[in-house]
Symmetry: D2
Subunit: 255 residues, 4 copies
């Protein structure tokens, strides 16, 4: 079973709350996916209002909220946002996202490490969203993050595991769970990440913008389970050009 900090998860599919056409549909899709960790952007939640529309729809007992700092541009803003989130949502879990560039929303390695170190010291369970950079992953682990969340492709592109060669190295070297975040656009991408040995995946856009988010939530749930099961069962090796000897049927036919 997957364990991050002191929590155990039956599901290795983490989800998000952005881009759904309605909060009701979001709730149905997330429930259908059986996801137990759901990230929510602090900036989209009215933290002073416990009747907030998004939060109301995430009340299922199975769901753990994971506030994220999306929108902050440096470590200082991230730390402030994390503190706000802790107070408002009563959780010390934080998905750390720092992206100074508003166009591609790619993460800043320097500010992320700085904020991670500070937040860990302040008692947060830090889940950092980062480039698929194996050395950065080790440094984050060293300052005490509870997992690493390397991206598969630029966020929102649905391009899949473009960083595969680096994810392999990260998974090989990591002592904390590896959660592939960003870029996963199809259930087959999610399955592939799990087959590689990732501990979990985070999927948002691909579920939210599907024509049928509820069905897509179920599809991702099954694909993640399939990929994990295949990882445990060990995949058959890839063969180059597969030369093989084969006895012709001819003898049999004419004997």
């Amino acid at each position: 079973m997957l364990k991050i900090a002191d929590k155990e998860f039956n599901s290795r599919l983490f989800t998000g709350t952005g881009k759904f056409s309605s909060s009701g549909l979001m709730e149905q899709a997330i429930n259908a996916s059986e996801s137990e960790l759901v990230t929510v952007a602090l900036k989209r939640v009215d933290v002073k209002d416990n009747q907030d529309d998004i939060l109301i729809h995430l009340k299922d007992a199975r769901i753990n909220l994971l506030p994220n700092t999306s929108g902050v541009r440096d470590a200082k803003e991230a730390v402030f946002a994390a503190q706000l989130a802790r107070e408002a949502l009563e959780t010390n879990w934080i998905k750390l996202e720092i992206h100074p560039d508003p166009k591609y929303l790619l993460p800043d390695p320097i500010e992320t490490l700085k904020a991670a170190e500070e937040l860990v010291k302040s008692g947060f369970v830090v889940m950092p969203y980062i480039h698929a950079d194996p050395v950065l992953c080790k440094r984050l682990e060293e300052v005490g993050t509870q997992c690493v969340m390397p991206l598969g492709a630029p966020i929102g592109t649905n391009k899949g595991l473009k960083t595969l060669d680096f994810l392999e190295i990260i998974i090989e070297q990591s002592n904390v769970p590896v959660v592939v975040d960003a870029g996963i656009g199809t259930p087959s991408h999610a399955a592939a990440a799990m087959e590689l040995g990732a501990d979990a995946v985070l999927v948002n856009t691909a579920i939210a913008v599907s024509q049928n988010p509820v069905a897509m939530g179920i599809a991702f749930k099954m694909a993640v389970e399939a990929g994990r099961m295949a990882y445990n069962a060990k995949l058959a090796p890839v063969q180059d050009k597969k030369a093989m000897a084969s006895s012709p049927l001819t003898n049999f036919l004419y004997e």
Copy 2:
């Protein structure tokens, strides 16, 4: 529900019987996969012996046997083998495989079309294993094959959907079910084929040579279902570099 000729299938995962370490394990894995169509090489079955070891393990009522002509080198041998199979296994279904080259076991388009035409006329339900050649697929459909079975990659390589660009065209143009055969090495490959719109996949090596064929059979079952469900729910589009506007969190933080 998938329909080929007069049979309906709940499962879109077809399986094979080669390369398992034992017939008992084969039976367990195939049962776990819930596959309803199982191909068996005529040359490996002792058709005169109804105590044949392979056949004994395929007695589940859910399973339809699909004899294949693997090992034949031309249309004449294929037709003869199909007739033998019909008599021995009491089925007019035949998976047509003609590969003159014993090294890569790649199919012969000319002989396959010739044999298909003759077998259809003789009342067979013909399922031809072929290269992912869109024009050949149309010609086979025209002579009356009940599906087409284009390959994803050279058989036994586990390389996945190397023929993706051509499978897309085949699926777009086909009026009979498209079953991706050969090359599928992981559940994620199977899911990807289904997401593309394939009607079914045939998986053998990847299940048989896994360290845990039973678990792998289940993993493929789930992946195929996930892929089909995602296809029906419509995938989110792939975005190139995904430029997006994003409001910074800053205003919120300091307001």
Copy 3:
């Protein structure tokens, strides 16, 4: 040096005449590319008129014309077109293209083999455009075609070597030159085909629709030469994840 039938070629870059914005620009681009074999669609040439605009611009002594049968839908039409071409253009070389589907212009394996056999018997030098089907390539070689021309990707897509895994097998098995035709969209694609061991490539769209066809012609020329030279010099092997021991600089720094 590349030899096809009785002709030797200094250049392994074959070109085409379609899609240029003007015949003058076509001439300049082809001359800049130093291509020695240039294919021309019979249907676009007014064969009765020796002042035909395309032909006038292909008068360079270095250039061999290669009429093609583009537009025909079966073997019978192809044979007729080839005979017309032989008479009109005074060459027994023919690029055999048979594509019944007007949408993707993909080649028909059955009709191509039939026409090839007949044309070889009639004394033609037959260069067949086909799917990257290794068995079909062998069958064409057996009926006497002087080369095979498997496609890299659907024609006009510029997608590159999508059929790589099959081109490798074709090159390994072929006793006649292998010319990669269709799909090559960039000089790097052309270089990659040559590195793989292809004997030549045919490029048309990628040169013709560039903003600067003359410069693009030169770029392809260099890339083809680079790829061939690299093939002869033997490429360094691809390493999986490349684990390596490395002595740290530290000792040196502080000694």
Copy 4:
């Protein structure tokens, strides 16, 4: 013409000195490649000895030496190594490589930025070897590095442009030259990097371990030029499945 700091380069192919079977062969290959910037590992040079075997073979007037800090594990060691190199080799150019992990030799983003900032202040022309991380590239540019050198794949793997999606963004956003470093294993990879808009590539292993390094040096030279020329001429767009209308030849044939 490519300009870095105050130097102009006719060649966009940078090379390295490792892994050649002899220094004589290294000299011939580098000369044949016409490379004008050649990186040399400080740890392999005996800086006190002006008869050092490697340096003696890099005396050609065309060649600029680019010492690198390969082997250092943090910023402090890197700065010290750079100072040593400046003194010994009489150049203020430095290729900054910091890799704490001796297995994959992947670069450390944090230490690299720290060392870069300090070295720029000390008057060095800093060329940092880094992960293909667009945000890190911008930060390095901001502290004054004269170029950025993102990797294409893990060093020594010859896997090519695995980081393509990120290189595109880096090239789009960068105000300093982008040099693709590491992973380039074939001339076609080098051409592809240049077609993408990279300003230069650095190639070492692929030339050094070829069976014929001199020919491979020439092949890379041509491929880099071809790729750059194609970039300037603008590539034809990639088409998805390329549906096209085509008039059949039939009318013509039978008119």
